[in-house]
C-alpha cells in the first residue's frame, strides 16, 4: 500500500514538474481526453477498485466466525480501569489484566460504565469502542502464550494516557489452572 502511494505521489509530482518547466511556443493543445477522462477519472477508479476489494478481503478475514471451542470474556471499561470477567469461571473478575487461552479464538464483549473508551491490543486485533449501554464483540486470538500490551484508544479525560491493561495468554495447562484457581 505504501509503495503504491509513493508511486502515485511520484507520478503526480512528475507530471506537475513537467508542466511547470514546459514552455510551449503557443497555447498548447488542451487534450481534455487524456487529462480528464484517463487521468482524472480512469486512474482513481482503477486504483480504488483494487484497493477496496483488498480492504474488504482483509476485513473479512478478521471477522469472527462460528467455532465450537470459543471462549467468551467480558471487558468493562471505566475511568480509568478495565475489569474482565470470564464466562468459564463465573464470579472471577480481574482488573487491568485480561487472561485468555493461547491458540483459541476469544470473543471479548466490550462495554463501558461511564464515558466512551476503546479496547485496543495492537498485536491481537484492531480497536473497538466501549460505549455505555452497548456491547461490542471483538474476536481476538493469541497465537502463542505470552504478555500483550493493551490500551484504551478513545480520549476519556485526564487519566486517558495511563488507561492501559495487559493481556496474558496462557497455554492449556496454565489456562485451566487460572480458571480453577478462581478465588
Amino acid at each position: 500500500m505504501l509503495a503504491g502511494g509513493v508511486a502515485i505521489f511520484a507520478f503526480v509530482l512528475g507530471l506537475l514538474t513537467a508542466a511547470l518547466v514546459r514552455r510551449p511556443a503557443r497555447e498548447g493543445d488542451p487534450a481534455t481526453g487524456i487529462w480528464l477522462w484517463t487521468l482524472g477519472l480512469g486512474l482513481p477508479l482503477a486504483t480504488l477498485a483494487a484497493l477496496t476489494v483488498y480492504g474488504l478481503v482483509m476485513g473479512e478475514r478478521l471477522l469472527p466466525r462460528e467455532t465450537p471451542d470459543l471462549v467468551t470474556v467480558e471487558a468493562e471499561a471505566r475511568q480509568w480501569a478495565w475489569s474482565f470477567a470470564y464466562s468459564d469461571a463465573p464470579g472471577l473478575v480481574t482488573v487491568d489484566v485480561l487472561h485468555i487461552p493461547a491458540g483459541l479464538p476469544v470473543d471479548v464483549r466490550i462495554t463501558s460504565v461511564d464515558v466512551v473508551h476503546s479496547f485496543w491490543v495492537p498485536r491481537l486485533a484492531g480497536k473497538l469502542d466501549a460505549i455505555p449501554g452497548h456491547v461490542n464483540v471483538l474476536r481476538i486470538e493469541a497465537q502463542a502464550p505470552g504478555t500483550y500490551a493493551g490500551q484504551s484508544a478513545e480520549f476519556s479525560g485526564t487519566g486517558y494516557r495511563e488507561h492501559t491493561f495487559t493481556v496474558e495468554a496462557h497455554g492449556p495447562a496454565a489456562w485451566n489452572a487460572f480458571l480453577q484457581g478462581a478465588p
Partner: protein, 831 residues
C-alpha cells in the same frame, strides 16, 4: 483610485458614487458600515488573529511533546490546549477566513456592487467577533473546554465535565455557526441573483461555483451540529437525557449528529481553497482553466458524496459489517472528483506557460502537500488499516496535511494574488519567498515525523509519553521543525502587513487576469463598479481589455446616480438577463446592536442567567422588526430606468425579492435542522438501549383537530392574501393566519402539558423539542403576520413579495408542525 486616464464623466461618476457608498466618518463608521469591502477586511483581520491564537496553542502542544515526561503541562492543561487548538482552527479560523475572502472578492467577480444582504453580513461579522472573543476569554480564565474538538458525551455531559468549559464550547461555537449560516444565505443569493448583465450560470467565474456549492453545504451540514449542541446543552443545563443511557438516551446519537456535520466540514474547508486554486492557477499559467464544466461537476459531486460518508469516522463504534463495507467503498470514492480537479489543474499548467511568482510558489506547495494528505486519507478509509491507526498521531498528521496543505497554503496564495485588489499594493520585499522556504520544508519534516510516530503507536491526545518507546527523536524533530514553520508563518503575516502599508502602488490588473474583479480600480472602491458591466463570455477581460475603462465611464447599467442611493442589478438566475434593480441599505448601527443582543441571549445561559437570555431574545425580536420596518419603503415606484434603455422594476416590488430567495435558503437550513431532529428521534427509538419508554403519549381528539385545522388555515391564509392585496382586503386573511398559528401553538402546548417531565426519559425530552419546534415557528409566523398588519395600519400598501415571503414561512410551519406532532402522537395512537 488610479486616476490616470480617468477624466470628465468617469471622475464625476466616481466622486458621486464614492459619496453615496461612503461609510460614516470616524471610528463610528466601523460599527455602522455594511459594505462588503469594510466587513470583509475586518473579517479577514479577525480570522487571522484567531489563526495566530490557534498557532500559539499548537506551539504549546509541540513544546510539551518535544521531550518525554515533560513537566511543562499536566493532563488538565494539555487537554484544554489541544481542544482549544482544534476548535479555534476549525471554527474560528478556517471557516471565517474563506467567508471573509469571498465577501471581499465575490461582488467584483460577479460584476455587482455589494453582496445581497449587506446588513446580514455585518451582523454575521459581529456575532462571530463576540462569540469568538467569549471563547478566548473563557480560555484565558482557565474555563476552556477539554473534551476534544468533537466533544463526545458522556465525557462532556454534566456528570463528567461539571465545569463551564463544555458550555462555553457549545454556546460559543453555536453562535458562530449561526453567523456562518447568515453568511451562507447571503452568498447563495448573491451568486444566484446579483451578477453582471449577461453573466449566465455557465459564464460565472469558477470561484462563484465553488462558493455556491460550499454555501449550500453549510446550510445543510451545520444544522445537525447545531441540533447536537442544542441537545447536549439542554441535557447539561436541564437534565433532559438525550445521551444518558439509563433514561433512554444514547451517546452514539451525538457521534452521528457531529459527523453528519464534521465530514462535510472538511470539504467545506477544502472547496473554497480549491476555488481559489482554480482561479489563480490559470492566470499564473497565462491561460484558461482546462475543463471548466468538469471542475464544476467535480465540485458538486464532491459535495453530494461528502454527505454520505460521516460513518467513516465511526468505524470503531461497532457498526455492522455491511455498513462498514458500504461506507468504506463510498469513502474512497471521494478521491475521484478530487483527482479530476487535480488533473484539470495540472493540465492547465501543461497547456499554459507558467510564471514563478509568489502565488504560484504557494500553489506548488499545495500540490506537494495535498497529494500526500489525500493518499493517507485513502489509506485511512480502508477498514483494517483504520482499526490500527485510528486515534494515533498518524491521523493527526493526515489531517494537518489536508488542512494546512489543502487550505492554508492555497489561501496564502490567494492573499498574495489578490493583494493588489484588497490593498492597492503589490509585494515589496523578498520576505515572502523566504517565508515560503521556511514554512513548506519545515511543515513536511514536522508532519512526516508525526506520521511515523503514529505508525509506531503514539496515541493522539496523550499529554506525554515515556522514554524508551522509540518516539523521542521523532517528537523532538517534529517540535523543532514546527517552530521553524511557525516563524515562517509569522514572516508571511509580517510580509503582508508591510506590503499593505508600504508596498508599491500597483497598476490595474497586474497579472493580466481575465475575470471582472480586475476591471475594478486598485484597490477596489466601496461601490465596486461605476456601472454594472455587460459581459458576453466567461472571460470578459480576455478579448476586451478596455472593458474597465468603459465601466468607469458609465457605459454599463445603473450609471445614473440621480436617485442618489445604493443600487445594483439583479439578473435572471440562469440566463443573466437584467431583471430587477435592488436598492441596498445604507449605514446603520442595527446589525451591531442585533449582534449584541443575539450574543447576550447565547452567552447568558453560561451564568445560568436564563431571564437575561429571554430578555435578550425579546430584544432580538424587537430589533429585527425595526430592521425590516426601516427597509420597507412606504410608497411604490413602479419601473425605473436602469440604463441601456431598459426599464426594470424595483426588487421589493417584484414577486421574488431577494428576501424571498433568502428565506428559501434559510428554510433549507431550518428544514435540515428539523430533519435531524426526526432522525435523532428515529435513531433513539431503534438503537438506544432503554426503549421503548414506560408509556407513549396517547393523543386526545381536540389537539389533533386543532393541529390539522391550524395547519390548513396557515397554509391557506397567505395564498388568499395574495389575491386580497389587489383588492386591498387583507385583514380577514391576516386574522385567519393568526388563528392558525394559535391553534398550532395550542396543539404543541397540549403535548407539553400531557408530558410535564421532559427529564424523565429521552422520549419525553424529544416530545418537548418537537412541540418546541412547532411553538417556535408558530410564534415566528405570528410575528410576521403581525408585522404585515402593522404595515397596513401605518397605511402602507402591502407588497406581493412580502406576502409571498410570509407564505413561505407559513407553509414551512404548517408542514413541519404536522410532521412533528404526527411523530409525537403516532406511537401512542395505536397503543
Amino acid at each position: 483610485m488610479n486616476q490616470t486616464g480617468l477624466h470628465g464623466t468617469a471622475l464625476r461618476l466616481h466622486k458621486t458614487l464614492a459619496r453615496i457608498w461612503a461609510p460614516d466618518p470616524g471610528w463610528r463608521g466601523w460599527l455602522t458600515t455594511s459594505n462588503n469591502n469594510d466587513i470583509g477586511r475586518l473579517f479577514l483581520c479577525v480570522a487571522t488573529a484567531f489563526f495566530v491564537i490557534g498557532g500559539l496553542l499548537a506551539m504549546l502542544i509541540r513544546a510539551q511533546l518535544a521531550t518525554p515526561g515533560s513537566a511543562f503541562m499536566g493532563p488538565e492543561a494539555y487537554n484544554q490546549v489541544f481542544t482549544m487548538h482544534g476548535t479555534v482552527m476549525m471554527f474560528l479560523f478556517a471557516i471565517p477566513f474563506f467567508e471573509a475572502m469571498s465577501m471581499l472578492l465575490l461582488p467584483g467577480m460577479l460584476g455587482t456592487r455589494d453582496l445581497a444582504f449587506p446588513r446580514l453580513g455585518a451582523y454575521g461579522l459581529w456575532v462571530y467577533i463576540f462569540g469568538g472573543t467569549a471563547v478566548i476569554i473563557a480560555m484565558l480564565m482557565g474555563l476552556a473546554p477539554d473534551g476534544g474538538w468533537f466533544m463526545y458525551p458522556p465525557l462532556t455531559s454534566a456528570a463528567f465535565s461539571p465545569g463551564l468549559g463544555a458550555d462555553v464550547w457549545l454556546l460559543g461555537i453555536t453562535s458562530i455557526e449561526v453567523s456562518a449560516i447568515a453568511t451562507a444565505v447571503e452568498v447563495v443569493v448573491t451568486v444566484l441573483r446579483y451578477r453582471a448583465a449577461g453573466m449566465s450560470l455557465s459564464r460565472m467565474p469558477i470561484f462563484a461555483w465553488y462558493i455556491l456549492v460550499v454555501s449550500v453545504m453549510i446550510l445543510t451540514a451545520f444544522p445537525p451540529m447545531i441540533l447536537g449542541s442544542l441537545l447536549l446543552e439542554v441535557e447539561r443545563a436541564l437534565d433532559w437525557p438525550f445521551f444518558q443511557v439509563e433514561n433512554g438516551g444514547d451517546p452514539l446519537l451525538w457521534q452521528h449528529l457531529f459527523w453528519l456535520f464534521g465530514h462535510p466540514e472538511v470539504y467545506i474547508i477544502f472547496l473554497p481553497a480549491a476555488g481559489m486554486i482554480a482561479t489563480i492557477l490559470p492566470v499564473m499559467a497565462r491561460t484558461t482553466l482546462l475543463g471548466y464544466g468538469w471542475v464544476v461537476a467535480a465540485a458538486i459531486s464532491l459535495a453530494v458524496l461528502s454527505f454520505g460518508l460521516w460513518v467513516h469516522h465511526m468505524f470503531t463504534t461497532g457498526i455492522p459489517h455491511l455498513g462498514l463495507a458500504f461506507f468504506s467503498a463510498a469513502s474512497t470514492l471521494v478521491a475521484v472528483p478530487t483527482s479530476v480537479m487535480i488533473f484539470s489543474w495540472i493540465g492547465t499548467l501543461w497547456k499554459g506557460r507558467v510564471r514563478m511568482e509568489l502565488p504560484m510558489l504557494w500553489l506548488i506547495g499545495f500540490f506537494a502537500t495535498f497529494v500526500i494528505g489525500g493518499l493517507t486519507g485513502v489509506m485511512l478509509a480502508i477498514v483494517p488499516f483504520n482499526w490500527q491507526v485510528h486515534d494515533t498521531h498518524f491521523v493527526v498528521a493526515h489531517l494537518h496535511y489536508v488542512l494546512i496543505g489543502g487550505y492554508v497554503f492555497p489561501m496564502i496564495a490567494a492573499v498574495y494574488f489578490f493583494q493588489p485588489l484588497l490593498t492597492g499594493r503589490s509585494s515589496f520585499f523578498r520576505l515572502g519567498g523566504v517565508a515560503f522556504w521556511l514554512v513548506v520544508p519545515a511543515f513536511h519534516v514536522t508532519f512526516l515525523a508525526v506520521h511515523v510516530a503514529g505508525l509506531l503507536g503514539q496515541r493522539r491526545r496523550t499529554w506525554t509519553y515515556n522514554e524508551g518507546q522509540g518516539w523521542e527523536v521523532l517528537n523532538l524533530v517534529a517540535s523543532v521543525a514546527s517552530f521553524v514553520m511557525a516563524i515562517g508563518f509569522a514572516l508571511v503575516i509580517l510580509d503582508i502587513a508591510i506590503n499593505t502599508f508600504a508596498g508599491l502602488r500597483g497598476r490595474r490588473n497586474q497579472w493580466n487576469a481575465t475575470t471582472l474583479e480586475w476591471a475594478a480600480a486598485n484597490p477596489s472602491p466601496n461601490y465596486g463598479f461605476a456601472s454594472i458591466p455587460v459581459v458576453r463570455g466567461r472571460y470578459p477581460l480576455l478579448k476586451d481589455p478596455d472593458l474597465a475603462l468603459r465601466i468607469a465611464k458609465g457605459e454599463g447599467y445603473l450609471a445614473d446616480t440621480s436617485r442618489n442611493r445604493r443600487e445594483t442589478l439583479i439578473v435572471a438566475t440562469t440566463t443573466g438577463e437584467p431583471s430587477q434593480v435592488v436598492v441596498l441599505p445604507g449605514n446603520s448601527i442595527l446589525p451591531f446592536l442585533l449582534a449584541v443582543v443575539t450574543s447576550t441571549s447565547f452567552l447568558a445561559p453560561l451564568f445560568k442567567a436564563y431571564w437575561l437570555s429571554g430578555l435578550a431574545l425579546v430584544g432580538v425580536i424587537i430589533l429585527a422588526l425595526i430592521w425590516v420596518w426601516r427597509l420597507a419603503p412606504a410608497r411604490t415606484e413602479g419601473l425605473v430606468d436602469a440604463g441601456h434603455g431598459s426599464q426594470l422594476p424595483i426588487a421589493s416590488e417584484t414577486a421574488d425579492p431577494p428576501g424571498w430567495w433568502g428565506s428559501l435558503f434559510l428554510l433549507l437550513a431550518d428544514g435540515v435542522h428539523f430533519g435531524s431532529l426526526l432522525f435523532g428521534y428515529a435513531f433513539l427509538w431503534t438503537v438506544a438501549p432503554n426503549w421503548p419508554p414506560p408509556t407513549y403519549l396517547s393523543p386526545e381528539l381536540w389537539p389533533v383537530v386543532l393541529a390539522v385545522g391550524g395547519a390548513v388555515a396557515l397554509a391557506l391564509a397567505p395564498r388568499l392574501m395574495l389575491r386580497g392585496i389587489e383588492r386591498g382586503r387583507v385583514w380577514p386573511m391576516l386574522l385567519m393566519g393568526a388563528i392558525g398559528t394559535l391553534a398550532l401553538g395550542a396543539a404543541a402546548a397540549s403535548v407539553m402539558l400531557a408530558r410535564p417531565d421532559p427529564a424523565s426519559h429521552a422520549f419525553d425530552a424529544t416530545l418537548w423539542l418537537l412541540a418546541g419546534h412547532v411553538a417556535f415557528h408558530a410564534a415566528l409566523t405570528l410575528i410576521m403576520l403581525g408585522y404585515l398588519g402593522l404595515r397596513r395600519i401605518a397605511g402602507h400598501s402591502l407588497r406581493v413579495g412580502e406576502a409571498r415571503i410570509v407564505g413561505l414561512w407559513a407553509d414551512f410551519t404548517a408542514a413541519t408542525s404536522l410532521l412533528a406532532l404526527g411523530a409525537a402522537w403516532l406511537p401512542g395512537a395505536f397503543g
